[in-house]
């Protein structure tokens, strides 16, 4: 565990990307240790079930590995790219028909919140969820959660919350501004 932590801390994003591009399987372990808890947390928040989150995370790792050559570092950070892969797979999962039947009607704030928060090894802009929740007002948080973790489009959010589309857009933008300020 100690050697693992030091290796994760020592490697730069560039080095990690280079090693993954060179199909270095050991680099995937480092990747996991760096981003795993963050990716797992996001997936779990979306699919709301531990065992499904684990499946989706594994699927994501396979997809990341196979499509790694399409990652373009000039277009954004590795974390942004892998996060999108995980989010998309998780959202696809909850949008698949058999999944909807059981879960769609559950409120968004449930099981995921009960899981214990974990410090992410990936820290450049890490900030506590509590602090974020304090700063975002409830309407903004609700909208950003539906958009980010619910896989809703802005129009779907408007319909779901019975709000004008313009209001949804304004709140989403305001929420992102608050986040940007917190994270900067």
């Amino acid at each position: 565990m100690t050697s693992k932590t030091s290796e994760v801390a020592a490697i730069t994003e560039e080095q990690l990307v280079a090693r993954l591009r060179a199909r270095d399987e050991a680099a995937m372990t480092i990747f996991y240790d760096k981003y795993g808890t963050a990716l797992y947390g996001v997936i779990a928040r979306i699919v709301k079930k531990e065992e499904i989150a684990e499946d989706v995370l594994q699927e994501s790792l396979v997809k990341i590995w196979h499509s790694f050559l399409s990652y373009d570092a000039s277009k954004g950070r590795l974390f942004t790219w892998v996060l999108n892969i995980c989010r998309n797979l998780a959202i696809d999962k909850i949008r698949s028909r058999q999944y909807r039947v059981g879960t769609r009607t559950q409120p968004l704030e449930d099981s995921a919140a009960q899981w214990q928060a974990a410090p992410s090894a990936f820290k450049p802009e890490h900030i506590g969820l509590e602090e974020i929740t304090r700063q975002l007002n409830p309407e903004q948080k609700q909208i950003i959660d539906l958009l980010y973790f619910g896989g809703y489009t802005q129009s779907e959010v408007a319909e779901e919350l019975d709000l004008p589309l313009g209001t949804v857009k304004t709140r989403a933008r305001a929420a992102i501004k608050v986040l940007a300020k917190l994270i900067r």
Binding site: E25, M28, T29, Y32, G36, T37, A38, Y40, G41, V42, A44, R45, E50, E54, D55, V56, L57, Q58, E59, L61, V62, K63, W65, H66, R77, F79, T80, L83, R87, N88, A112, W115, Q116, A117, A118, P119, S120, F122, K123, E125, H126, I127, G128, L129, I132, I144, L147, Y148, T153, Q154, K169, T170, A172, R173, I176, K177, L179, A180, L182, I183
Partner: protein, 295 residues
């Protein structure tokens, strides 16, 4: 296009959240390449959402790290890695199936003579399928390109059309204004009074149209010197030597862009324009008189 307005429109958030259509995404990417402000805003949104995501890091169930990494390794090492990847096998014994169980002796014998023909047939099928797929892909590509082109043309046409509509509307409004002004100028009841420049402004020239029976007064500026800031021209009627306020001139009237109707004047023998503080003055500042003319 107003870039600030575009940034405020919420489309960039949708782009980062991945809820735009391919075409809309392309538009965002194009604008991001063109305008650094768009690029920068995208970056801010990405960082904000990444940070929000990272804040949700959760402790995974015990043993997950080993399970997930082993499952991943198995998936990428299987010869059918890609296919297996889509099914995302968890660590289960059945995943070893693709290694192919040793065939039974008779099966080997039978497959020896049937193999060549079925293999070549299969080969042909694969070749045909690949060829069809390629053709279809090329067709799709061409159709997609044509669709994109058509959409662009349509958009250009729509923009043009709305611009023409706006221009036409402005032209109609202007024509109505001019028609009204012409009506006044042609009316017999209006009397034109030329106001000539005083020594203060020898080039200045204006004209007042006065209707003695309805008391209506219009002013039509040909040329008045530019004003210092905070000042406004004011028209005065002179009735038996006494100045009567006829109102201040709007900027439009001052620059000669249009006629302006002034305050009604019951009786007058002459008109004059002076420079006053913005908003007008109750009495004229005679030293600033710019034009003057009598009926």
């Amino acid at each position: 296009m107003d870039i600030q307005q575009y940034i405020e429109s919420g489309v960039l958030e949708q782009y980062v959240l991945g809820t735009l259509t391919v075409r809309e995404q392309q538009e965002v990417e194009q604008l991001a390449a063109e305008f650094p402000a768009v690029q920068q805003e995208l970056q801010v949104i990405r960082l904000a959402l990444d940070g929000y995501a990272a804040a949700h890091a959760a402790t995974p169930p015990a043993g997950m790290r080993e399970r997930v990494l082993a499952g991943w390794q198995q998936a990428v090492r299987t010869p059918n890695g890609q296919a297996a990847a889509d099914e995302a096998p968890r660590l289960v014994a059945s995943v070893t199936a693709p290694v192919a169980p040793a065939p039974q002796p008779e099966a080997v014998v039978r497959s020896i003579d049937s193999a060549p023909s079925s293999a070549s047939k299969f080969g042909w099928l694969v070749a045909a399928a690949v060829a069809l797929l390629t053709l279809s892909a090329i067709g799709n590509y061409l159709l997609y390109n044509r669709l994109k082109e058509t959409e662009t043309n349509l958009e250009v046409a729509r923009t043009e059309q709305s611009r023409y509509a706006a221009t036409q509307q402005a032209a109609l409004k202007e024509r109505d204004d001019r028609a009204r002004q012409l009506e006044i100028l042609r009316s017999e009841q209006f009397r034109a009074v030329d106001l000539k420049g005083t020594p203060n402004a020898p080039d200045a020239l204006a004209r007042v149209y006065y209707n003695a029976s309805s008391h209506a007064v219009y002013v039509d500026v040909r040329h008045l010197p530019a004003l210092p800031s905070g000042k406004q021209y004011q028209l005065w009627a002179l009735d038996k030597g006494k100045p009567v306020d006829a109102g201040v001139l709007t900027l439009e009237a001052t620059t000669g862009d249009s006629l302006q109707q002034m305050k009604d004047i019951a009786s007058a023998q002459a008109f004059a324009v002076t420079v006053e503080n913005a908003g007008g003055s109750p009495t004229p500042t005679l030293s600033t008189m710019t034009v003057l003319g009598s009926i």
